[in-house]
């Protein structure tokens, strides 16, 4: 069992929910990203770091704009590795990189997971690497001792969901709705039913993302999953010049107790 899975199962055993904040590397600036990362480390069970890509396909407008700004500010994959090397990563919650398959290929392809492992990165989320194409990368991640986090969407058929769950490591990223990233209102009955359906198929840790923006979503879905990934809402906080601590504090409470 990898580090990521262990942590989330521990959270589950304590009756709590995992909180997984998402930050865009280099956003709003290199220095402020580092600050946000250190803030997030105080509240998070794991942290997702999005490495900006010039041509994202699954990002909504908020993360897309943040990525474009970070790229214009000079963020790179190599630069992000360097930034991490200046931090005490071992004392932080597990870090995940979220990036496109083209960035993985440019970063070394099958050798990339080993580079991530030696930088202290515990897992990879590659949204444009669906199950059918992931065999080689999954093997390389396994060899390097990091998790390749699988994604399931509401449009995923039951047969494919079973195949994906069978190979899943770390946690399974459940995309809440058929759509791009971005904050939303309340989730529909359809979302709840879909999360329940996947829950019935597996004991592996499940984290839900896309549209989680506050305690109300944690409350609504806490019976269905093990953790929550919060992206666009945090990026918006940073966009408006705030620190991420306030929002993460509220989310932490919601994740820790039903009354939160």
């Amino acid at each position: 069992m990898d580090a990521l899975e262990q942590i989330i199962l521990k959270v589950r055993a304590a009756g709590r929910k995992a909180l997984v904040p998402f930050l865009v590397a280099g956003y709003p600036t290199a220095a402020k990203f580092r600050e946000a990362l250190m803030d997030a480390a105080k509240y998070a069970d794991a942290i997702e770091i999005g490495i900006p890509f010039s041509d994202p396909l699954a990002d909504g407008p908020v993360i897309q704009a943040a990525s474009a700004k970070a790229l214009a500010g000079g963020v790179t994959l190599e630069g992000t590795f360097k930034a991490l090397s200046e931090l005490e990563v071992a004392k932080m919650p597990p870090l995940l990189f979220m990036l496109s398959i083209n960035q993985v290929l440019a970063g070394g392809g099958a050798k990339f997971p080993a580079r991530c492992a030696s930088a202290g990165v515990a897992g990879l989320i590659v949204p444009d690497l669906p199950h059918e194409e992931a065999g080689e990368m999954r093997a390389a991640c396994k060899k390097a001792g990091i998790a390749l986090v699988a994604m399931i969407a509401p449009t995923t058929s039951d047969a494919r969901a079973k195949a994906i769950l069978k190979e899943a490591e770390g946690f399974v990223y459940l995309i809440s709705v058929a759509g791009v990233t971005g904050a939303r209102g309340e989730y529909s009955r359809e979302t709840v039913d879909y999360l329940r359906k996947i829950r019935a198929m597996t004991d592996k840790p499940l984290c839900v993302g896309f549209g989680i923006s506050g305690p109300k979503h944690v409350k609504q879905l806490r019976q269905e999953v093990d953790g929550f990934i919060v992206g666009s809402a945090l990026v918006r906080e940073l966009e408006s010049g705030k620190a991420v601590s306030d929002m993460l504090d509220r989310l932490r409470s919601a994740c820790d107790s039903e009354r939160g």
Binding site: F53, S54, D55, P56, L57, A58, D59, Q64, A68, L71, T76, L77, E78, S100, I101, N102, Q103, V104, L105, A106, G107, P127, D128, L129, P130, H131, E132, E133, M151, I152, A153, P154, T155, T156, S157, R160, I175, A178, G179, V180
Partner: protein
């Protein structure tokens, strides 16, 4: 076509690199496509549309005065004479019929030069389907006539302001729309790019160009074949369409012509010449990128060629050497444009003018050859650029 021929990989190239949300759509599309092309009723409906709506077969025209001027024999495959004025309609009509069969009422498409957008808008109007076309804001400016035509066909044109404001951004936005509305939406991709099964579907619907051209050539010259076949390559749909008719004829040289832009570094669209393999828009293929894996900007006077990726089959054909990929710059394309216009009374699209310019170069080097050039589209849409360049 039987089920066995839906290609996902061309050598190492191709694949399905899309967000999980879209996998169900790709699987559904592949099943629907296979069922359609095995269904006689669909084939009859499609054939009827090609004959009476698109206007096929298009002529193979012997450009006599141009041949004389350039020192060889130039035959033009007249895709510019199809309804809406470019080869794009072949694929748009075929895929729109598939979408209708699948019960999808909402069509999204990307467009660069606007030709695929216009073709899709026309095909949707004919079938009563809703049509949204994503087009880079830069391309909206330089292909204004096509924007207006799309609107007249009832399509909604969404100008994409992000980043490079060209075809790449239009595809990003179209895919993002599809991710956001996967169940009701059919993504009508116009080039031979994208995740499987799109490259195979686009090739299927465009291969009629090559099969017609080969047959027509042999009515001029029984049992003979041309020395070479030339087509421009952006994403590569017109090229793969005409090459498909000649790939097995190993004596026929095949040339794909990429856009060299103004020749300055970083100002080209020479994906196969200058790129290295990576993943853009769902498939593994050559692409223009930096060391960090970020896709780099492109330039070409021809919006349809102004793209940092290329269809995966072209990548395999480059590696195998079956097709030679060459570069033509903006200026050479404009010269070829003028010569065809004046000598033959045909206004070629700026995209197709790149293929023509290479034909001229080839004949200068070895005169007397018999060439087929795919005249993929007509140049009426390019008026704003031609005026800005002082050609009119």
């Amino acid at each position: 076509m039987s089920t066995a021929t839906i290609t996902h990989r061309y050598g190492p190239y191709g694949g399905q690199y899309v967000p999980e949300t879209l996998m169900a759509n790709l699987i559904e599309l592949e099943e629907a496509f296979v069922a359609a092309v095995e269904d006689k009723a669909f084939l009859a409906e499609h054939h009827d549309a090609l004959s009476h709506f698109v206007g096929r077969p298009t002529p193979l025209y012997h450009a006599q005065r141009l041949s004389e001027a350039w020192g060889g024999q130039v035959y033009l495959k007249r895709e510019d004479l199809t309804h809406t004025g470019a080869h794009k309609i072949n694929n748009a009509v075929g895929q729109a019929l598939i979408a209708k069969r699948m019960g999808k009422r909402r069509i999204v498409a990307e467009t660069g030069a606007g030709q695929h957008g216009v073709a899709t808008a026309a095909a949707c109007a004919r079938l009563g389907l809703d049509c949204i076309v994503y087009m880079g804001a830069l391309d909206c400016e330089r292909q204004q006539p096509n924007v207006q035509r799309m609107k007249l066909f009832g399509a909604k044109v969404a100008a994409c302001e992000a980043g490079t404001r060209n075809l790449k951004i239009a595809i990003n936005e179209a895919i993002r729309d599809w991710v956001a509305n996967p169940r009701e939406t059919y993504y009508l991709l116009g080039s031979a790019v994208g995740p499987a099964p799109y490259p195979a579907i686009v090739r299927h619907f465009q291969s009629i160009i090559g099969s017609e051209a080969r047959e027509q050539y042999q009515t001029h010259f029984p049992k003979k074949l041309p020395d070479a076949v030339i087509a421009c390559v952006g994403g590569g749909s017109n090229a793969i369409g005409i090459f498909a008719g000649f790939l097995e004829d190993t004596k026929v040289k095949l040339y794909g012509v990429e856009a060299g832009g103004d020749g300055k570094e970083g100002h080209t669209s020479c994906t196969l010449a200058d790129g290295r393999p990576g993943v853009l828009h769902g498939s593994f293929s050559y692409l223009l990128q930096n060391n960090d894996g970020q896709i780099t900007g492109t330039h070409s006077i021809a919006p349809g060629l102004d793209y940092p990726g290329v269809g995966p089959e072209h990548s395999a054909l480059k590696d195998s050497g079956r097709v030679k990929y060459e570069i033509v710059h903006d200026d050479e394309a404009l010269t070829a444009f003028s010569e065809l216009s004046r000598l033959e009374g045909i206004l070629p699209a700026l995209e197709s003018s790149h293929a023509l310019a290479f034909a001229k170069r080839l004949l200068k080097k070895s005169p007397g050859q018999k060439l087929i050039v795919n005249l993929s589209g007509r140049g009426d849409k390019d008026m704003p650029t031609l005026i800005a360049r002082g050609l009119v």
